[in-house]
């Protein structure tokens, strides 16, 4: 099948606006009479609020309102468990908790006035370590709860006792991963505008999940959803990170806007963003594996514990993805996995690209290499003996029979491109000098989209106007990943037009049905199917009209190259002409597309089911050089092979791979939010280091295409798989180079040199 628009590296539809500076991000918008809002945050990670006196702040010139929890109709919100405070009422649970908000005529006035709000605190002891949170705390983080457990998921297959009894070798290892920050370049920004568009409040800004934000704001204000409109256009990166924190910001701005009757803009600076926004969950993991001497894995037992911080946020779902995927893509007859999340008084943790996978992949892929070493089997051979193929039964008991299970293919493609075998052999020899090289790999399977977490559906609207131009909108949000372009390509392909005809509209929650969240690498699949559905409906109406109007008979009409054909080479009319004719005949050329993903299942009781309707497979191989004198690790090259089903836009897929690999490199080598008793010490880019252009190794992206029957044109997911592997692959490469197995991330200098971190506090060992 040859395509005109999809499977092509068309340039991004939003690129022009972005290279000219015309693209308006949240902080760039202004409205008449607009006020500036600022948040006063807690002084302590855990404290009782004994009193708040806003008087001096209210007197400050330019200040128009100061609000606290008592001014909020419903102070609690949350996606899964409603226990996140818009503003702290009696207690602050972490250092980023807001206590009061100020609106003033200038940003400076808001900032000055914020300092004048008097808060009387009683500092309280907090829980900052996972063990403490888990093992019968004196007092739980949330006083109304019996303990600190946010979530506990189980997965059971076979009987691990039996499996370990049969095993000829058993390995038990502990791994841990660190707290990290999304570090989207654009700090959060929201503007709430009252009484616009015949709607109580319109919210603009850096909103990753417009419908979730609408729900949160309506819930907080106790007003109907129809009275809140969220409009999202350009957003400066999110990676899962602009959801609950932005909902809180939107709710605060909304409260101030209603109070003052004016538009209120709230923009975080970087420090505020680092203090308040949720992070990636740090995990502590215990893995036990049993295998035969030949390397057949017989049993695996896993316990993974996540620090949820002060709020539940996405912890129940993050730890659920972990429970499903924790073994990695290996056929194991006996599996017992338990994942947990616990409340602490640390900064809360939530969704971040990967969503519970990078942690377990680091553990499981390190473990596989450790097992290979013990068994004296090549790490690749060990994997090849155990990986999933078509019709394999996963750890959760799902038979993989509805798509191509391409693990072997991605693995082999990556091995070849990286010259793995030759290098592995070479680096296994004695290496003289201080600089030692190593090569290591990691593989994964990943469930596409939400899985059995929630309803998984999306909508798209397409209208053909009477001059033949087209508007397209979808309920999923462009966060930078390129969805506007992908969706335009899909619509253009089906309607046989140039994507230039399409004006891609911002998300407007009042105009497009609730499409759920832009998460879980679901946009191309779920949103793409919705766009395809809308375009197909439109095309059918349009074709019926053209057949009637132009009295064509027989063959199905073909929409291609801006023309409508009745058989090869026979253009009946042009797209534009037909659009005008349809309009004047009263034909509705407007369609809403809807896609509801296939049935999936999960049984919490038995810990099994078919949790995802399809999966993607990936392999990354890292080649490193370690200076054993200084501990410095240089990544020389990363080869990344990913099956995406079908690349709607290959250059976009490569962009995802480059970006994901670099984020994975940061996770593996340098990033860690350092906390001590709930205080965060690195709150800006001078000491929270993310990869710069100087850290860029050679990256070899390999796009593997096995079209999936459930994807639009066969397309699946790419955003998250790209980020989840590099940390593990680098760790394995460092081990080959140095002979030292490091079981916690990041692999920083001290860990390489002396095997443990010199950093004080923190939550990593």
């Amino acid at each position: 099948m040859s395509y005109c628009q999809v499977n092509k590296s068309l340039t991004r539809v939003d690129a022009y606006a972005k290279v000219t500076g015309q693209a308006k991000f949240g902080a760039d918008l202004t409205f008449p009479d607009m006020l500036y809002g600022k948040v006063l945050r807690s002084k302590y990670p855990h404290a009782r609020i004994k009193g708040i006196n806003p008087e001096k702040a209210l007197e400050y010139p330019g200040v128009e309102a100061v609000l606290t929890a008592k001014d909020i109709p419903n102070n609690l919100f949350g996606v899964i468990i409603h226990n996140q405070q818009v503003l702290a009422e009696r207690e602050t649970y972490y250092i980023g908790d807001g206590i009061a908000v100020v609106a003033a005529r200038t940003r400076e006035a808001a900032e000055q006035a914020r300092e004048l709000i008097e808060v009387e605190y009683e500092e309280l002891p907090g829980i900052y370590r996972l063990e403490e949170a888990r093992d019968e705390p004196v007092k739980p983080v949330h006083p109304e709860m019996a303990d600190n457990q946010v979530a506990h998921h189980t997965l059971r297959k076979g009987d691990v006792k039996l499996g370990f009894a049969e095993a000829e070798i058993i390995l038990e290892r502990e791994y841990s991963t660190q707290l990290i920050e999304h570090a989207y370049l654009e700090p959060e920004a929201v503007i709430a505008v009252p009484a616009q568009h015949s709607t109580l409040l319109t919210i603009y800004g850096s909103v990753q999940n417009p419908y979730a934000t609408r729900r949160a704001v309506a819930g907080v204000l106790q007003v109907p959803l129809a009275q809140i409109k969220v409009i999202q256009d350009h957003l400066g990166g999110s990676f899962g990170g602009k959801d609950e924190n932005v909902s809180a910001m939107a709710a605060r701005a909304a409260l101030l806007a209603l109070k003052t009757g004016k538009a209120v803009k709230m923009v975080n600076d970087r420090v505020e963003s680092m203090l308040e926004s949720y992070k990636r969950h740090p995990y502590q993991m215990k893995y036990k594996v049993g295998a035969s001497k030949e390397g057949k894995i017989l049993a695996m037992e896993i316990k993974a514990e996540a620090d949820s911080g002060a709020y539940a946020c996405q912890t129940p779902f993050v730890t659920w993805r972990s429970v499903v995927q924790a073994t990695g893509p290996y056929e194991i007859p006996h599996v017992k996995t338990d994942t947990y999340g616990f409340y602490t008084n640390n900064v809360y943790t939530g969704a971040m690209r990967g969503y519970g996978s990078p942690q377990v992949i680091f553990a499981q892929e390190s473990l596989l290499d450790e097992l290979a070493r013990e068994l004296k089997i090549d790490p690749v051979e060990l994997r090849l003996q155990n990986i999933y193929h078509n019709n394999s039964i996963t750890a959760s008991g799902q038979r993989l029979d509805n798509h191509q299970v391409s693990l072997k293919e991605v693995l082999e493609r990556a091995l070849t491109a990286s010259e793995y075998k030759a290098k592995y052999r070479e680096y296994s020899q004695r290496q003289p000098g201080e600089k030692k090289r190593g090569i290591g790999l990691a593989i994964s399977y990943r469930g596409c989209s939400l899985g059995a977490e929630a309803i998984d559906a999306a909508a798209a609207n397409i209208a053909i106007l009477n001059d033949g131009s087209i508007t397209l909108s979808c309920g999923l949000a462009e966060n930078g990943q390129g969805l506007k372009t992908i969706f335009s390509q899909i619509a253009a392909e089906i309607l046989g037009v140039d994507p230039e005809r399409i004006n891609y509209l911002p998300v407007d929650t009042s105009a497009v049905p609730d499409s759920g969240a832009t998460v879980a690498s679901r946009s191309t699949m779920v949103g793409g199917n919705a766009v395809k559905n809308a375009a197909e409906k439109l095309k059918k109406t349009f074709a019926d009209f053209v057949a009637r109007e132009y009295e064509t008979t027989g063959a199905e009409l073909v929409f291609r190259d801006e023309q409508i054909y009745n058989g090869p080479g026979k253009a009946v009319t042009s797209f534009s002409e037909a659009a005008a004719a349809a309009f004047y005949q009263g034909v509705l050329l407007n369609a809403t597309g809807w896609y509801l993903s296939p049935d999936i299942s999960w049984d919490e009781e038995t810990g099994s089911g078919n949790p995802y309707f399809t999966y993607v497979y990936g392999c990354q191989i890292a080649e490193v050089e370690v200076d054993i004198g200084t501990g410095e690790i240089s990544v020389l090259r990363i080869t990344a092979a990913h099956d995406v089903g079908r690349a709607i836009n290959p250059a976009g897929v490569r962009g995802q791979i480059y970006g994901g690999v670099m984020m994975g490199l940061g996770y593996g080598l340098m990033e860690e939010v350092e906390t001590e008793d709930g205080y965060i010490s690195n709150t800006n880019f001078d000491d929270y280091l993310i990869p710069t252009i100087k850290d860029l190794p050679e990256i070899i992206p390999i796009i593997v295409e096995n079209p999936d029957p459930n994807g639009p044109f066969g397309a699946k997911s790419i955003g998250e798989p790209t980020l989840e592997l590099a940390g593990a692959a680098i760790a394995n490469a460092v081990c080959q180079a140095t002979g030292k197995r490091i079981r916690s991330l990041p692999l920083n200098l001290e860990r390489v040199l002396i095997g443990s971190s010199l950093r004080k506090g923190g939550r990593s060992k």
Partner: protein, 157 residues
Amino acid sequence: MEKVKVRLTVNGNSFCLEVGAKERLLDTLREQLRLTGVKEGCSIGECGACTVILNGEAVNSCLVLTGQLDQSEVVTVEGLAQDGRLEPLQQAFIDHHAVQCGFCTPGMLMSAKALLMKDPHPGREQIKTALEGNLCRCTGYQQIIEAIESLTGPERE
């Protein structure tokens, strides 16, 4: 607060502005002149999102006080295209998929532009050095480098 008068040429237009003694160039550009292509990502000179070209040099506009810039010349991303014609760098960023979320893009373009003004044929290492202060969380930098190299020709030995 005391105000200072400064004459500035911004994107070829001259302005006579009154600014506070502590006003950053970033704020002058974004708030007084509404040139919101200049972005704020960290406020401390670490991310490069606020990069503009000041008297021929790429600078972080969050670290520069406008009051000290009398008679200076500033170019922002809005000043790159001339009469609706994109500057080759902008076109290269589009063609090479060097843009994702686009928040770092204006700063990247300005750093790259400042480099090419000095040296039209930089090698890869020089490109990396020139862009070291510009963080990007989305692209992994690769396609940005490819975009710039498409204009600079083969790397010099």
